[in-house]
């Protein structure tokens, strides 16, 4: 990308900088013998014109970068470019002088032109050198900024991948209990044992797959939670009840994979599983304006002993959403008298757009 043309705010100051250079040039032309009026009439417009010509310095600067090309080649390339630019400019100045001559005030301009040629050529080379130096400087600056930005992006991506990999790890407690249930069903109800094997396999396969993607439709995330809940239902029986309320609009939104799953697991493991009579896990998703809201609610035993590891899943979800959406992500946790509720919200994005 051109370091000046590609940025809206840079063209103005760049051309403005050529005005005093034009003044300087007018001074030189005056010294070379032109009267002030004529010198100014030649120097000021021609300086601006040369400003445009010098934007082309980007091409030699790009092809002869001091990072990738021997120094001698940088010098030769730029010298040639300077000579070509100065010659072109000289030709344009000559044309301009011929045009000026039409006005009675400047009738002597063409006559005096040969005396100006060395000044124009020398100024052309020096000004080109200045412009080339500016281009090098800006290109270097852009490169540094780009490197910084991609380093930041990489960091966010790496963190997100790490957290996702962490999430994709299956809770060993869940796994061993599920295997125990299967072991039990094998004796009492082989058909149910097989069904449970399949549900568990589905859940594991999905969890592993989702560890490697960046975004999935919310409907897929809910389907994964469904598989998890099916396995847990075999263990807990009627103690685990589930209600869901998901709008079609919300289901079509893209979500970071495994963002809901830890909350559902918490609701079962730290909520319903700790209640002698069990309870209802409620999952809701809706789109409110431009934001997607996900809610997981469950009853809990306020007097249950605190167990280690609580809060890790939730902290991970919070970290991931912050890494992805920054200030736009919100994680609200409410806990009162036997009820636990987490609400996540972030800008809604259609699943296909990601």
């Amino acid at each position: 990308m051109h370091p000046i043309l590609a940025y809206r705010g840079r063209m103005g100051p760049y051309l403005a900088a050529w005005v005093p250079l034009g003044g300087l040039l007018a001074g030189l032309l005056r010294i070379a013998g032109s009267p002030w009026g004529e010198a100014a009439a030649i120097a000021l417009p021609m300086a601006i014109i040369y400003g445009f010509i010098c934007l082309a310095a980007w091409y030699p600067c790009k092809s002869a970068s001091p990072h990738s090309v021997p120094f001698l080649r940088v010098i030769t390339t730029q010298t040639m470019a300077a000579a070509v630019s100065a010659m072109l400019w000289l030709f344009l100045v000559d044309t301009w002088v011929v045009l000026l001559e039409q006005f009675p005030v400047f009738s002597k301009a063409a006559e005096r032109f040969p005396r100006l040629v060395p000044v124009i050529l020398a100024a052309g080379v020096v000004l080109y050198a200045l412009a080339a130096a500016l281009h090098y400087l800006l290109m270097e600056f852009e490169e540094a900024r780009q490197a910084e930005r991609s380093a930041f992006e990489l960091e966010v991506l790496a963190r997100e991948a790490e957290l996702r990999a962490l999430r994709a790890q299956i809770d060993p407690h869940f796994l061993f209990n599920a295997l125990n249930s299967i072991s039990s069903l094998t004796g009492s109800d082989p058909g149910a044992a097989r069904t449970m094997c399949l549900e568990l396999a589905d859940f594991l396969r999905e969890s592993v797959r989702l560890g490697s993607v960046v975004s999935i439709p919310l409907a897929d995330e809910l389907a994964l939670a469904e598989k998890y809940l099916a396995v847990e239902r075999a263990r807990f029986g009627s103690r685990l009840r589930v209600e869901r309320e998901v709008s079609a609009e919300a289901g079509a939104c893209g979500v970071p994979p495994l963002v809901l799953q830890p909350l559902v697991e918490n609701a079962v493991r730290h909520g319903v599983a700790n209640l002698v009579g069990g309870g209802v896990v409620r999952i809701a998703a809706r789109r409110l304006g431009e934001r997607l809201h996900l809610t997981v609610e469950n009853p809990m035993d306020p007097e249950a002993a605190v167990r280690p590891g609580e809060g890790v899943g939730l902290a991970n979800v919070r970290d991931r959403l912050t890494a992805l959406y920054g200030q736009e992500a919100s994680v609200e946790v409410r806990q009162d008298a036997g009820h636990f509720r987490v609400e996540l919200a972030w800008p809604a994005v259609p699943a296909s757009a990601q």
Binding site: L179, N180, A305
Partner: protein, 251 residues
Amino acid sequence: MSQTSSPGRLRVAIVDDEEPARTLLREYLTAHPEVEVVAECANGFEAIRAATELDPDLMLLDIQMPGLSGFEVLELLEHEVAVVFITAYDEHAVHAFEVHALDYLLKPFSRERLTEALTQAKKHLRGPQPWLPAIAGAARPGGLPLSRVLVREGPQVHVIPVEALDVAEARDDYVCLRTRGREYRKQQTLGELAAQLDPAKFVRVHRSFIVNLDRVARLERYAKDSRLAVLKDGTKLPVSRAGYARLRDKL
């Protein structure tokens, strides 16, 4: 109330909150004609009731259960029944078992593994089980202070959240817990209880008293070297010199 079992018979209580897990144990146990399953409990409260009313020889006890965990059940059992622990995955529990060289079953387990555990358990049925209090403490994760105190009255279990505990007083060989205008007895020493409670919230003000800091209204000088703590409900407790030093730091 103890029902003497005939020699060689083994009266077993199965305690697990998951129905398939209980079914599996029952199925495995049918291969042992000497075993009689006297109770199937779906939580810790039922386990304590079964222990009181049915007096089993052995309890197959799951650790992660609603209401009371397997360790809390153990703490309340007071040596009256042998226990084989069962867990799916619990690093703290497994560590505690290993430290005390205890047998335990990891889900899922085989028929043979259960048989082995039964054989081991039969060896120390009704014998002293000195590891009982130690393991309950060792299994409490990460040295966290107690969040609730459990008291057993026969078949019934009372759960007292520590915030609701006003005063604990040492009596002959038990601790008297005062909470919400009621008193409960717990078989424990005051020193053990003091070690488990959060030192930022509870202070042992005297050899015989632990007090909840929230309940203390003021201190009164009583004699030259002794003081009284006056609680918000007007109760007065003696404060020893060491107790005063501890209290002064916290108030």
